[in-house]
């Protein structure tokens, strides 16, 4: 059963997505009500270890912005040129949610930063403080707030609209150290509840299977009676298995301690959650859905500092990234889900990026590129200070900038693929908000001025612009950006999001809105 992943297998699937018009009559049931305006989608994309100073080389002075022709892409952002008119570079967004140093000024530098910063990225709460308050030991604690994407899924009732509530994908086949904490801060963006981390899936075969099981199928409109009968049979068997499994757990539950009861309640609800998927017989879903060729499987890394590095067992990160983009496009155009979190690599990645081709290795020496964290993020150079206008000074090493540029290229590839699919009156990119960010600024681990891009979201946010928000002490907080996306983009009635040690209320970030 060991299905080895090969470049050929993966590439088999690439490039078969062809643009098909959005056909109203074939749209999924839930989507019909929203036909007049295409549904809104949100894809937060994480990259680890922060950014090289080249990220900000053409940035305007803080508190100002540039747009249109004055907005010039920095060298690490150049791959985004084809979608520049849908791009916003956003500077000076901070995530000072930690309560460390309560009562004093906010401190953007926390340790261990490669677990606490990504832990707080989508929840805007300090996981170390939560764990300590709950009396958990820090090395084994698994606790956080509900993440911004899951608030959207839950409050927006997306689980009732699409077959799959939300998806979590990633490329981290070889995680680095977890900084003395659990996997849940290094390999997770989405938290369904305080104790339910939704780990990213690296296996393209599993993502593909989930989409097909949920009913993704090519839309030639016809129904094969034989296949339909088989699907009915399979659904009935699956239903019987699920019912029996949930039934036996429910019967056992009352005999257990409250703690174990909660564990089994979660077991039952996670199996109930897949019921819709495994009992779907596929005839209700069609539309402009296009199924890509089945990709090969990639094994999950068994733990920190283990797994597949570039070249091991034929593993190729570039091919992996392309196929994951194809799967994201498939998931969206088949309307299987509308919220996907995507980790371009696990936190504190030590992956060997020396495969990056010349088109992105344009920054001179790439010494240290064989270890993202140790060699590139902590290679020579970095931000040394700011010039008078607030623009950073310093130089980062070529490896750091090269990896950033290659990661941006993967997002650019995704944006272009979405741009090629018509959706409603525009394209799939118009009705999708791609939100690329790291959990820390640069080599210094600060959760201040996070390197951040917003792409798409047409009609909601300003585009073709670099907006640099005001400087300290009025740093704009990431919790406010999520709050803005929840209220203004999804129209949700959210009272507040994330922690603020000063007790400040959430505020809409009007600077980014149209």
């Amino acid at each position: 059963m060991k299905r080895l992943f090969s470049r050929r297998n993966v590439l088999r699937g690439a490039g078969v997505c062809l643009a098909l018009p959005w056909l109203e009559s074939l749209a999924p049931r839930g989507a019909r009500a929203q036909m007049m305006t295409a549904p809104r989608r949100y894809i937060p994309i994480y990259f680890p270890n922060g950014a090289a100073i080249q990220w900000w080389e053409n940035a305007p002075a803080f508190g100002t912005s540039v747009a249109g022709e004055q907005f010039i892409l920095s060298s690490v952002h150049e791959p985004l040129l084809p979608v520049k008119d849908k791009l916003m570079v956003l500077s000076r967004m901070a995530n000072y949610t930690w309560k460390q140093g309560q009562g004093t000024s906010p401190d953007p530098g926390v340790e261990p930063s490669h677990s606490r910063c990504p832990g707080a990225l989508m929840t805007c709460v300090d996981t170390d403080v939560l764990a300590t308050e709950a009396g958990m030991s820090l090395p084994s604690a698994v606790i956080n707030g509900v993440s911004a994407d899951q608030v959207i899924v839950q409050q927006g009732g997306l689980g009732q609209i699409t077959p799959i509530e939300s998806m979590q994908m990633g490329l981290g086949t070889f995680p680095g150290a977890f900084d003395g904490r659990s996997y849940s801060y290094s390999q997770v963006m989405s938290w369904k509840s305080a104790t339910e981390p939704l780990k990213r899936q690296v296996n393209p075969k599993a993502v593909f299977d989930a989409l097909v099981n949920a009913g993704a199928m090519n839309s030639d409109g016809s129904v094969d009676p034989e296949a339909d009968a088989l699907a009915q049979q399979r659904a009935a068997e699956n239903k019987s298995v699920l019912d029996a499994v949930v039934e036996s757990s429910a019967a056992l539950r009352p005999r257990l301690s409250r703690q174990d009861q909660l564990t089994l309640e979660q077991f039952e609800s996670s199996f109930r959650e897949i019921e819709k998927t495994v009992t779907n017989i596929g005839t209700t879903i069609s539309s402009g859905c296009q199924v890509i060729a089945e990709p090969g499987a990639i094994p999950e890394p068994p733990g920190s500092m283990q797994g597949l590095n570039q070249g091991q067992d034929g593993y190729d990160r570039a091919a992996h990234a392309l196929i994951m983009n194809d799967l994201i496009v498939m998931a969206l155009r088949c309307d299987m889900t509308r919220v996907i979190t995507y980790m371009l690599d696990d936190s504190r990645s030590e992956f060997n990026y020396s495969f990056i081709p010349e088109e992105d290795a344009i920054f001179g020496s790439t010494g240290g590129i064989d270890n993202f964290h140790g060699g590139a993020q902590h290679g020579a150079g970095g931000i040394s200070g700011t010039a008078e206008n607030g623009v950073y000074t310093g130089t980062s090493n070529g490896a750091f900038a090269t990896i950033n540029r290659w990661l941006v290229r993967q997002v650019a590839d995704l944006a272009q693929k979405l741009q090629a699919v018509p959706d409603g009156e525009g394209t799939l990119l118009d009705s999708t908000l791609l939100h690329m960010t790291s959990a820390m600024r640069t080599h210094d681990h600060d959760a201040y001025d996070l390197p951040m891009l917003l792409i798409g979201g047409t009609g909601f946010i300003k585009q073709n612009t670099h907006i640099a928000l005001a400087e300290k002490p009025s740093d704009r907080q990431l919790r406010d950006l999520f709050y803005t996306i929840q209220k203004e983009y999804f129209g949700l009635d959210v009272a507040s999001f994330g922690d603020d040690m000063r007790g400040a209320q959430n505020e809409i970030i009007a600077d980014i809105l149209l």
Partner: protein, 562 residues
Amino acid sequence: MRLHTLRVLAERLRAGGLVALSAFTLACTGEIQGTGADGKNGGSGPGSGGAGSGTPPEGYDPALLDPGHVPAHRLSNTEYNNTVGDLLGTSLRPADFFQAQTVTGFDTNSSALSGITATNAQAYFDAAKELVEDVFANPTLKAKVVTCASAGAGDTTCAQSIVESFGRLAWRRPLDEGEVAKLVARYTEAMTTLGKDHEGAVAHVLRIMLTSAPFLYWIEIDPDIAAAAAAKRPLNGYELASRLSFMLWSSTPDAALLDLSASDELLDAAILAAQVDRLLDDPKGARFIATFFNQWLNVTKLGAHQVDATFYPTWTEELRGAMFTDAQQFFSTFVWGGRPWSEFLTAPLDTSVPGMDAIYGADPAGLRKGFLGLPAFLTAESMPTRTAPTFRGKIVLESVMCAPIALPPNVVIPDLAEAGGDTVDPTNIRAKLELHRSSPDCAGCHAVLDPIGLGIETFDAIGRYRTTYENGDAIDTTGEFLGQPFTGIDELIPILNADERFAACPGEKVLSFALRRTPRPEDLPYIEQLAGQWGSGTVRDLVKHLVESDTFRFRKLPASAL
């Protein structure tokens, strides 16, 4: 022999003029009592507390001991693969594609495995289907499950006997009447409404059992919840069988173990100890070495470790495999070979593993010994192009001595290059590290971490003996650890060997592994007791002491679990 505490360590550090006091954390605190006895402490009956020889340490009272509990949690992915292999005879390894949920420590730690997501559920659901298809496609494997035929429509006698016998193996306990009835009803449903024949219906029921919580989870069921919170209760035979089997085999108990559970014979300490021997001496006992030792001592990391072949042309995938075998060989002497833990740093290495000549070939006689000379350790704790004395020191302190280093708060940890290390010749790592330590921020941790690693710089990044760096500089292995100077590995080892934490550490690790938790404060008196009782004997003896203890054989719910 009084063993020292964190306070003593802190005093030593202070005496040494180091600034890292707050950076040192110690998982085992309190005073540990040594025994000087042979460490073998005859069986103790249930409830007696397994008191050791010698004076019990302060804080340890077997009557008051709180053994804690193992909360319900899923099998680890390794355990899932082993379990389906042992139970069904399949060669499939579905869990290679399951998501791993790990915390710091062992991958069986229950705190990360109690949660489950829809992604996990989907993977279990698909895997059970695939496993059953695999078994039913293979006549030999199928015959082990389908042990009887149906007498005709409506006959469930055979189905019921399969549910009861396979169910006991799969769920690791006898099924109760209600459970049996429900599964038999599913068999009937498959025959009547799902269009299955007898075999197909058995397959359907098998699939249900392999997707159910009692298969996927460790669940210890208290007969009376309130009583289990008020006082500790002895585990029943089946619960003991699972604890024993998952510890030593990383897998489900076999029929022999379950039979001893059914008759309650397993509750007898002598029989329990005999089962430790049987499980360890079984070929599956090798899993204990691969899982426990490799994770404890971070050798697992070797599997994905990168070596730059331009610096080390000798490096091959075969050599990686040989190093694993070599490490397994070394660790196994403490389990299978009767070698005591006190020799962990001094025992000679077996240099006979095929392929290891590339590493051992250039050794001067008598130089290399013990864990500090083990190529798997030396390589896994190196960088691709050079040694990493800091990594090596960290493993010795954190894993061998159970003295984890906590990162100082609010200090950016720069790479060597950033700290100015690049201004010296890159091939002399000591010179680089010395520059590193010139920063007060760095010195706190590195003054403690680095000397151990620098003391074994005579071994390069793949563990070969050397006398000079690539640039021709002579290797300097002198240093000082906790105020005691040494000139090299020969003087370093006795210093480490005499450290009380070296003797106490394995007890903490084996408890953490067996009971699937980061040790709680309530465990510390017992960990001290265990160390004294054991007296740095073999790891096999350590396991026996643990399984005979109330900590292993009892369970008590904390108020927070109610």
